[in-house]
Symmetry: C2
Subunit: 152 residues, 2 copies
DNA sequence: ATTATTTAATTAGCATAGCTAACTATTATA
DNA sequence: TATAATAGTTAGCTATGCTAATTAAATAAT
């Protein structure tokens, strides 16, 4: 359990940035979850649906990889989306073990409604920021996606 | 503060920023949760403990407010921390309905160890970024905290 | 002073979402 | 053909969100 002393040296600044980013992400998501709940769809379902709407049909494994969760987790998320008729599922022609999951029209509609609601919440707050902060948010979101793939 | 016309122009950009930030925060936290699990303490418990260690003893209500969750949720989070002996609880002298929650020495030790581990993975990735990106992350984390309090 | 109201915290019960382990069905390989 | 690998699902655990209802204490009203 003892950590090796010869681990990579971390600058105070990097640790500070990482720590603050972690806290900020937790707090932000807790807020946004309130809005998601009004939609009647959880954040994981919403995020997966978003991948399907903007990225097209995907296998369960591909969806799990895109969302960085394990297959059983994604299986249940998709189960919820199926029950709400936000996605449909069919077996793959070439590989009959696999499934192809695709957003329904209702799914597309609900996702866009979700986006609209976030305009009323987060984006409204974002708009009161100075222009440079908004540009920076967009930029940092990309950095965060990059980081989430680098982290081991 | 901003001119109305400028807001209209920013609207699409703000929605875009909100969406990307949402996704990026989800993906980042999913990654970091893996590290948290190694510690045997969940992200909510870790975050609450952090507030206690860096902010000093707090009532349950104050802790819930700081973490932006409802009292019953914080009550259970604290329950877990108590069971692990990471915090201790006493009733307030002035108001005997209230409790005061405080990190134990073990709590302080575990948090610092956890912070090191949890953040180390992220910080190692952060450190490989250009200096300007690190500065930007620090800055954006503050903006995100601000936003999470503005969102209604 | 007594009663009513508000407040702090907890408990109970529900839902979502993460995981691993174990299972079925299919495909690929030896 | 027999075995191994792969795609998904199911079962069962934990952690975290919530609301509603309860208990105890403090405050306000009569």
């Amino acid at each position: 359990m003892q950590a090796p002393l010869e681990r990579k040296f971390l600058s105070d600044e990097a640790v500070e940035a990482a720590d603050r980013l972690h806290s900020a992400a937790i707090h932000l998501l807790r807020r946004l979850r309130i809005r998601d709940r009004e939609l009647g769809i959880g954040p994981a379902q919403l995020s997966a649906l978003s991948v399907l709407v903007f990225g097209g049909p995907k296998s369960l494994a591909a969806l799990a990889a895109a969302e960085q969760v394990k297959a059983p987790t994604m299986s249940r998320i998709v189960g919820g989306l199926l029950q709400a008729k936000l996605v449909q599922r069919r077996t793959d022609r070439q590989d009959r073990r696999a499934v192809v999951i695709q957003a329904t029209k209702k799914g597309i509609r609900v996702l866009q409604e979700g986006r609209r609601r976030r305009v009323a919440a987060l984006a409204a707050a974002v708009q009161d920021l100075p222009e440079k902060d908004i540009v920076q948010l967009l930029d940092t979101a990309q950095v965060m996606e990059y980081l989430s793939r680098q982290v081991r």
